[in-house]
């Protein structure tokens, strides 16, 4: 029986109608394309009246298929599927044609845009005739959530969910939660003590009954899908038995091996071979750094073991794999600092008194290696002049094209700390001053008032090559003061480089484990940059904090909370719909050649050795269709993207190029065969 197709062409105000002759397209489809029963154009198809038009036609004309030519299906596919459902038509018998983003918005020539719109509509009509009714699938949502990363964003997300009564697994690769925020001295623009506002949250997480805290642990593997992920976590060996340790700290105190702490102290201070990263660490269980421990180096010492009052030291401890099951995952894996050595003209690593901003944070932190005294590398001289260099590795095509967002404010904050604690003159070398959040501009004003000097120009180089006596023994910052239009040299004692915020080095790899993608820069890609900023393209995986892009503390906290709210919603609903777009193997036809077996990265294809056929595990299939096009026998079919549907769509798209060529159909009438 022939299908009855309804075609609806949207004006979208003038968005589409401005460039595409929508009346003409609708009329043409109605008159020229086979099986079209109704064809209309309408001002706003997505309005309730537009939807009603479709619903009424389905009921009145008995439409069996619907084509809506409007905007991107990513915007309104759900809307029109719902309209079809309302009228009793299976929602998967509707097809959207994108004549806005892919047509009217990108073409200037009205005739060409209209011609393309016809072809796209024709393609959809031919396709929709072969679409099949599908039933969406529902799965239960596991109430537990995995949060990856114990920085401020991850902590916020964890607390929101745990407080709502849901179990949370928090995985952190460092020995303590806290993230970068724990390293900072003050926060801008309020100048709160960073640790003072962070540590209460850390201990709350550490003690929360709903939180399972897994520090010094890494994500190993994720399988399954939204609602029921199966996750493997690698608990790295601490060599301290977690449950036996009381956190008394004797082991740390007695450990004879001191090493440079390049992590928490950013190389500015030391730690022991057995250590807690910082005094307020959560959990208060130290770890042994096997790289520097004397026992692991030459089987001697064991001082910690001998002195531990609870016998918690275990040199033989091994990494452990922990299996957990969760319904959703929040990625809050954060950032890492740009390697300022990549810009050798700034001298970091070569000129002693060039610092990274993180080093300087530790330097002026009251709990830091100098107890907050700002001194040069010699450990005693207070600088008389300090230069703060912005955009080190940011806004630079050679390194990171993006703006790191927070450095301007961080530079103002550091400048303030120098002004507050020393008599030094402070220069800030900036390209553009970006202070566009609440109370940020006011902070800039404050620093102007405090006498910080601002030079608009990207620093060309920092050198110790003096050209005149006044430059001897100084670091000379050379740049163009672009407001004056002249090249200038500024001799200073200390230089602070505001290095870029970069994605974690293994962000891409971590993303692949969870099935989410990164932008070109390496930040996780959100589902929609404006309307869906914490969800990802993979259902059940959310992002929060700087792993999604550079941002400051308030924004990270807001995202952590937002991600948690999204997860709460999923848990409350209890079930989640999964698109029935999956592959299916016709077992009768399958010869068990096993070509498809390693096509699926989700292991959704299993081989039944007894029956010698392959099968798709529907629950694991994500519907990419790669196996469908790999099957040499053509016995794997892809729901909603079948060969037949796509062939029909190709044919429709080429309606103006294709004519039947076969003699069998073409000139059966005209060619004589034999004499009667």
């Amino acid at each position: 029986m022939a299908e009855k197709v309804g075609v609806y062409v949207c004006h979208c105000g003038s968005n589409i109608a401005g460039k595409v002759d929508v009346e003409d397209v609708a009329k043409w489809a109605g008159e020229n394309v086979k099986d079209v029963a109704v064809s209309r154009d309408y001002k706003f198809m997505c309005s309730s009246l537009g939807q009603k038009l479709v619903e009424d036609d389905i009921k009145e004309h008995g439409l069996t298929r619907v084509v809506v030519a409007a905007c991107s299906p990513h915007l309104h596919e759900k809307t029109f599927r719902r309209a079809c459902s309302n009228a009793g038509l299976n929602p998967y018998l509707m097809e959207m044609t994108n004549i806005r983003e892919h047509c009217s918005w990108v073409h200037k020539d009205r005739a060409a845009a209209t011609e393309k719109a016809r072809a796209l509509v024709s393609a959809s009509i031919e396709r929709v005739k072969f679409q099949e009714p599908l039933e969406p699938m529902f799965v239960d949502v596991n109430r537990a959530t995995l949060v990856i990363g114990g920085g401020i964003a991850g902590l916020q997300a964890t607390l929101e969910l745990a407080d709502a009564g849901y179990p949370v697994y928090l995985v952190e690769r460092q020995p303590s939660i806290g993230g970068h925020m724990a390293q900072f001295d003050k926060t801008f623009p309020t100048l709160d003590c960073s640790a003072c506002i962070l540590t209460p949250k850390m201990s709350e997480v550490g003690q929360h009954e709903n939180v399972t805290l897994l520090t010094y642990a890494e994500l190993e593997e994720v399988s399954g899908s939204v609602g029921s992920f199966k996750v493997k976590i690698r608990q790295k060996a601490r060599h301290v038995v977690f449950d036996d340790c009381t956190g008394c700290g004797i082991c740390v105190e007695k450990c004879p091996r001191k090493v440079l702490d390049t992590e928490f102290e950013a190389g500015m201070g030391n730690r022991k071979a057995i250590y807690m990263p910082f005094p307020q660490a959560v959990p208060r269980v130290p770890v042994i750094d096997t790289e520097s421990c004397i026992w692991f180096e030459r089987q001697k010492c064991r001082a910690c073991e001998k002195l531990c009052p609870t016998n918690a030291i275990d040199f033989d401890q091994q990494d452990e794999l922990i299996d957990i099951e969760v319904g959703n995952i929040i990625m809050a894996t954060g950032w890492e600092p740009f390697d300022t050595r990549k810009i050798p003209q700034y001298g970091y690593g070569r000129l002693a008194n060039v610092y990274t901003s993180l080093e300087f944070e530790r330097l002026c932190n009251a709990a830091g290696p100098t107890n907050g005294k700002i001194v040069l590398r010699d450990g005693k001289t207070e600088p008389k002049s300090v230069a703060i260099v912005h955009c080190v590795g940011s806004r630079d095509e050679r390194h990171n094209p993006y703006c790191s967002g927070v450095c301007c404010m961080a530079a103002l904050k550091l400048g303030h700390l120098v002004v507050e604690k020393t008599d030094a003159e402070v220069y800030s070398f900036y390209i553009d001053m970006r202070t566009n959040q609440k109370n940020y501009e006011e902070f800039y004003q404050r620093l102007l008032g405090e006498g910080m000097r601002f030079v608009r120009g990207k620093v060309a180089e920092v050198t110790d090559a003096a050209r005149k006596p006044s430059e001897q023994g100084k670091l000379i910052v050379q740049c163009e003061d672009t407001l004056v239009g002249r090249q200038q040299r500024y001799p200073v004692d200390m230089v602070i480089l505001m290095g870029a915020i970069e994605p974690q080095r293994d962000a891409r790899e971590m993303g692949l484990k969870c099935g989410i993608s990164c932008s070109m820069d390496g930040w996780y890609t959100e589902r929609h940059p404006k309307l869906d900023p914490v969800a990802t393209m993979t259902d059940g995986i959310f992002v929060a904090g700087t792993c999604q892009g550079p941002k400051d503390i308030p924004a990270s906290v807001a995202q952590g909370a937002a991600a948690a709210a999204r997860v709460s919603g999923m848990i409350t609903k209890g079930k989640v719909m999964i698109e029935p777009i999956v592959a299916k193997i016709d077992e009768e036809g399958c010869s068990g050649c096993r070509i498809c077996n390693n096509m699926c990265p989700y292991n959704a294809i299993e081989y039944d050795a007894e029956a010698q056929v392959s099968r798709v595990i529907t629950a694991l299939c994500k519907g990419c269709g790669t196996c469908v096009s790999a099957c040499p026998a053509g016995v794997i079919s892809g729901a909603h993207f079948s060969d037949r549907q796509i062939f029909a769509q190709i044919q429709g798209a080429l309606w103006d190029a294709w004519q039947p060529q076969d003699a069998a159909s073409q000139d059966a009438e005209t060619v004589p065969v034999s004499a009667p």
């Binding site: 620093v459 060309a460 740049c479 163009e480 002249r486």
Partner: protein, 190 residues
């Protein structure tokens, strides 16, 4: 980063510079950060820093740019190019400005055009450059005083056998000249 090649720029001068410079379209991405002017070994001597020159190009201030000394102070050290955060081929733009200034008769503030002309004339004649020839002709016509000052140095060089008095000529000068003539004809400039 991709340059916007769809829109036409209002400044004709900017369009000309872009057309005359390989990858010149990147100039529109200048952030005015000044890392070029800051890096330039001769930056302090320039009428305008390269950054300012780019702003003037965008503002269509052709005369001001082409009569300035900026490009003639360029020593082709490529520090600006290798440091530019926007990957703008700054040194090449300086070459373009030199060419435009010479073509349009606006190169006033430097003897560099004369040196360049002497140099290339000799190359076109012999196929190789010829230091003594360049030095003697160029200095004689352009900087006679300087010639006197450097004559001592010239004598030492000569004494050390480092100054040849006759040029080396390549075998197939005709071939080179044919190539040069064809290139000149195609470029429609002198």
């Amino acid at each position: 980063m991709v340059a916007d090649t769809h829109g036409a720029h209002r400044s004709k001068f900017l369009r000309d510079v872009i057309a005359d410079t390989p990858d010149g379209e990147k100039i529109v991405h200048c952030l005015q950060c000044g890392s070029c002017g800051g890096s330039c070994p001769n930056g302090a001597e320039m009428d305008y820093t390269p950054r300012a020159i780019f702003a003037m190009i965008a503002a269509d201030r052709r005369e001001d740019v082409l009569t300035s000394n900026t490009m003639w102070q360029c020593v082709s050290c490529y520090f600006c190019t290798s440091r530019c955060p926007q990957d703008i081929p700054i040194t090449e733009i300086m070459y373009s400005l030199k060419r435009m200034a010479i073509r349009e008769g606006k190169a006033r503030k430097s003897d560099a055009p004369a040196l360049a002309k002497t140099f290339t004339d000799l190359v076109e004649k012999y196929g190789r450059s010829f230091e003594f020839g360049i030095a003697s002709r160029y200095l004689l016509f352009n900087r006679p005083m300087s010639m006197l000052k450097s004559s001592g140095m010239g004598m030492s060089m000569f004494a050390k056998g480092r100054l040849a008095l006759t040029p080396t000529r390549i075998k197939n000068v005709k071939q080179l000249q044919a190539i040069i003539n064809k290139a000149r004809e195609l470029s429609q400039h002198d």
